[in-house]
Symmetry: C2
Subunit: 146 residues, 2 copies
């Protein structure tokens, strides 16, 4: 595929590329996260909370490009594990605020090692990773318009 026409081969289609790559990455994380008792979506959710604690469910869902119907049970499981606390907003009783516990904050310490391991696994240079991130970001934003 080096033309200006649309891809015809199944594997040249970006949906195939993203779909398969996404699962490969997910699976690669599993052994590392298993030691921490976390799943991959749980881990990604925590990385957002490590950066900004006390977020509303809606805010988290938006950053994850995810529906709250997916996020609510995930957060409940993290609460059961003792990594965070869900509480209703004081001013607005509809919203639920997520606050990390000490346990949830402690997990952050293991993040750098996991990241390093995964970056190594990609076999991509840091420049290529930046390039990939930029393309994925542009792609996401493209669909956001629709």
């Amino acid at each position: 595929m080096t033309t200006d026409t649309l891809p015809t081969s199944a594997k040249d289609m970006f949906c195939y590329g993203i779909y398969t790559a996404s699962h490969v990455v997910n699976r690669a994380y599993i052994p590392h996260l298993k030691k921490l008792g976390l799943t991959y979506p749980q881990y990604i959710t925590l990385t957002l909370l490590w950066e900004q604690d006390g977020q509303k469910v809606t805010e988290l869902a938006k950053q994850l490009w995810m529906e709250t119907s997916t996020l609510t049970p995930l957060l409940k499981r993290l609460e059961t594990q003792g990594h965070l606390i869900r509480s209703r907003g004081k001013q607005d009783g509809r919203e639920v605020i997520i606050n990390l516990t000490t346990s949830g904050q402690e997990l952050k310490k293991s993040a750098p090692k996991v990241t390093a391991c995964m970056v190594k696994g990609t076999a991509l240079t840091l420049y290529e990773l930046e390039k990939l991130q930029a393309l994925l970001g542009k792609l996401r934003n493209g669909f956001e318009e629709i």
Copy 2:
């Protein structure tokens, strides 16, 4: 992130980028595939069969970077819908061969329009899509080694 060090911000990590982009693409496909009565993983599986009919379950699973425990029920649902037939191998009774029915082949006709729609949605140029595909492919292969 324009340094030679590992990313520290959550959204700069490639796991976040691929994870969220994957779901965004999945969701974008849904309305188009709903008209065909297909899910996104079902559609991707069919694209592989349109290109090469009569494959074994193992072959398909490998191309999809997926476990057969995921693929088997998916294929059964496509069989129930009448798009394919699952049959035991003549020489080797352990393997299951997947053959498209006329119905399953007919679906191929609607593929180009869907692809065109999705490519437009990405807001990426065809050159950028090629670049993205190449990076995702390299990433996948990197993890394969492990």
